[in-house]
């Protein structure tokens, strides 16, 4: 009985920590949605692009770790700048769906560019933190929990706290919220829309880089990261598109449910149900609470 409970705990904790990885990707979506009410479908591609660039700098040019990270982050700022200038500004007055489709196109461009520049083979990324159980926890609590998972959880927590504080207490954060609420009104009282967009897309790029590092260290830096990032969508639906804490709670729920279902129910159906379980979970959430746990209620008028 104790063993079973311990096993359940292990599955649950593993799932929760894996969920923070989804949260990291979801965080990038939330940042952009919160500041511009734009749904950025290319976030997954940005994850792939940024971490591939990071690996490329390190492995092809032998640039040291920290410098390569900074360069990759700068590259994401440039991507943000180009996106703002070439995609978002011309689409300022377009409908949500049009912008969404444009970001699907942007995702394709980023994926293609990344592969053209750095090749298609899978790259290994070593963060210096192994993806194996921490001995101390294994000895004392009898739980096998990966060090990488714990590290990812910590990073996610730090980023979420930092960003929440930024949005809540700084002048920039206030500007971001104003723009999200009504871009026209915000710009008419003198909030520089261009700078806000640039800032938010760069921030989302850096968040994508961090998320990509975590995923890359686990699964290798490869194209499949884009598909993995799709799983951030159910996370967002559960947590709400405009809530930073929602992203983490949604990630935890998805991560935990996915793993528990896979371990306890999956074997009856031949396994691999984690491929669709998060989406079906999201559908049930949509039917009962379309705005997510922490999202703002959507009111539509004719």
């Amino acid at each position: 009985m104790v063993d079973e409970l311990l096993f359940f705990m292990e599955v649950l904790v593993g799932g929760l920590l894996a969920g923070t990885m989804y949260s990291l990707v979801a965080l990038g979506f939330v940042l952009i949605f919160k500041a511009s009410a734009t749904f950025n479908f290319s976030q997954g591609a940005m994850v792939f692009f940024s971490v591939l660039a990071f690996c490329g700098f390190m492995q092809d040019f032998n640039i040291p770790f920290v410098l390569a990270f900074i360069l990759a982050a700068l590259l994401m700022v440039v991507v943000g700048l180009c996106t703002e200038r070439l995609v978002l500004r011309p689409l300022m007055n377009a409908s949500e769906d049009t912008v969404l489709m444009a970001t699907i196109g942007l995702g394709y461009v980023l994926e293609g560019l990344a592969q053209a520049a750095w090749g298609v083979e899978v790259r290994r990324l070593d963060l210096g933190i192994g993806d194996f159980p921490v001995p101390w926890i294994a000895d004392n609590l009898k739980l096998f929990i990966s060090a990488l998972d714990i590290f990812a959880g910590l990073v996610a927590a730090l980023m979420i706290i930092g960003l929440s504080l930024l949005f809540k207490f700084t002048k920039i954060g206030l500007g971001l919220r104003a723009v999200a609420d009504d871009a026209g009104a915000a710009s008419s009282i003198g909030i520089p829309l261009k700078h806000i967009m640039l800032l938010v897309w760069s921030a989302a790029g850096v968040v994508a880089l961090v998320a990509g590092c975590m995923w890359g260290a686990r699964a290798g830096v490869q194209f499949a990261l884009v598909d993995l990032a799709l799983k951030a969508l159910p996370v967002l639906i559960i947590g709400g598109f405009s809530s930073i804490p929602g992203a983490i709670i949604g990630g935890l729920i998805i991560g935990a449910t996915e793993k528990v279902l896979e371990v306890y129910i999956g074997p009856f159906f031949g396994g691999a149900i984690e491929g669709w379980a998060p989406y079906v979970l999201a559908i049930f959430f949509l039917l009962y609470r379309p705005e997510g746990l922490f999202g703002e209620k959507i009111i539509r008028r004719v």
Binding site: A102, I104, G271, Y279, A282
Partner: protein
């Protein structure tokens, strides 16, 4: 314009006649290489049909859906099992029933559209994509307990006659596509299509005017999935000649989405234009790579460039012409017409001056 035959105008009938003459008489007589049939014309017709399905739900009803390939897989595997287990049904019967089975999935996964829209709906339809592929993959019954993963599709036999040559398969695809395209055009022009468009343009307003959202949306999803299912069956039986769930992955869904958007949302001819573009462009790019650069550029680089161009075009079209290539074609026709008739305008002007 005045209708000449039933509700069709003269223009419709000439368009139909031109298309039919081209596809039935000109193409089979002038194109003799098998490559064109097996690698371009057949997949073009199949994917155009699937794109019409995507058009119904996305272009006409305005619901962002991203699960076309899932419904195609449902149709393809339904077809395989129907021919295997219910041979009495015949090819055409199986094709219709597999479309209906796909439509049932469409209704099931279209239900969330009643509550949500936009990106939320996209996620719900992604569930259908992943679920259907997983279901086919994990339950051996669907694949007739074949362990190799790739099943060979049965030969097409209609009324005792085998249709196995590329040309014969082309005619099968052509016949099905023609019938379903005409049907889609009729639906889009009739009250069904009006309801779809009313829901697309403003669903709340449509509802207050008495358009039933439940009926319209579910109907659109069912019809869309029916088209995708039939297209998937044709795609597997005429083009791939094999069945494997991997062929219907999310990448194919994105491809169909691109065909639909680049071709022109809310147009039937856009489906054909978009499918042709997405299919032919990589062929063109590859031949440029081989002939101009003589293989100096790696194939992976070429496919990356292709991806960049598709994505870039998507952005450019969204900015400058959200109605896609069908609209460009329309504009081209209008400008040509006005150039041709500019001399006629001068004549009328002078006659107006005279009468004054």
């Amino acid at each position: 314009m005045k209708p000449v035959f039933m509700t069709y105008t003269k223009k419709d009938l000439t368009n139909l006649a031109v298309c039919m003459v081209l596809s039935v008489l000109v193409i089979p007589n002038f194109i003799t290489t098998e490559y064109w049939y097996t690698s371009i014309l057949i997949p073009w017709l199949c994917l155009a049909l699937a794109t019409i399905g995507q058009q119904v739900v996305m272009g006409y009803t305005g619901q962002l859906a991203l699960g076309a390939a899932g419904f195609m897989a449902a149709g393809a595997f339904a077809m395989f099992n129907l021919i295997l287990r219910v041979p009495d049904l015949g090819f055409v019967g199986s094709l219709i029933v597999s479309g209906l089975i796909a439509a049932a999935f469409g209704i099931l996964f279209g239900l969330p559209s009643l509550k949500v829209r936009g990106i939320y709906l996209m996620v719900a339809t992604l569930a259908s994509q992943f679920f259907i592929i997983w279901m086919i993959d994990k339950f051996g019954w669907f694949k007739n307990y074949d362990s190799s993963g790739i099943i060979t599709a049965q030969d097409i036999v209609i009324l005792g006659k085998p249709f196995t040559t590329p040309l014969a398969m082309y005619f099968v695809c052509l016949a099905v596509t023609t019938v379903l395209t005409l049907l889609a055009m009729n639906m889009a022009r009739g009250s069904t299509g009006r309801n779809w468009m009313a829901v697309r343009d403003m669903d709340i307003a449509a509802e207050s005017m008495g358009v039933s959202l439940l009926k319209t949306k579910v109907q659109a999803f069912a019809i869309s999935a029916f088209y995708c299912g039939v297209a998937g069956a044709l795609f597997a039986f005429c083009y791939l000649k094999s069945l494997e769930p991997v062929a219907f992955d999310i990448k194919l869904s994105f491809k169909i989405l691109f065909m639909c958007i680049l071709g022109g949302l809310g147009t039937i001819n856009g489906a054909f234009i978009g499918a042709a573009f997405i299919l032919l462009f990589p062929v063109l790019l590859n031949s440029v790579g081989n002939n101009v650069f003589h293989g100096a550029i790696d194939a992976t680089i070429i496919s990356s460039i292709e991806q960049v161009i598709f994505g870039g075009l998507m952005i450019i079209f969204m900015i400058y012409e959200p109605l896609g290539m069908a609209k460009l074609w329309e504009n081209l026709k209008i400008s040509l017409k006005s150039k041709l008739s500019s001399s006629g305008i001068k004549n009328t002007k002078s006659s107006v001056q005279k009468s004054e």
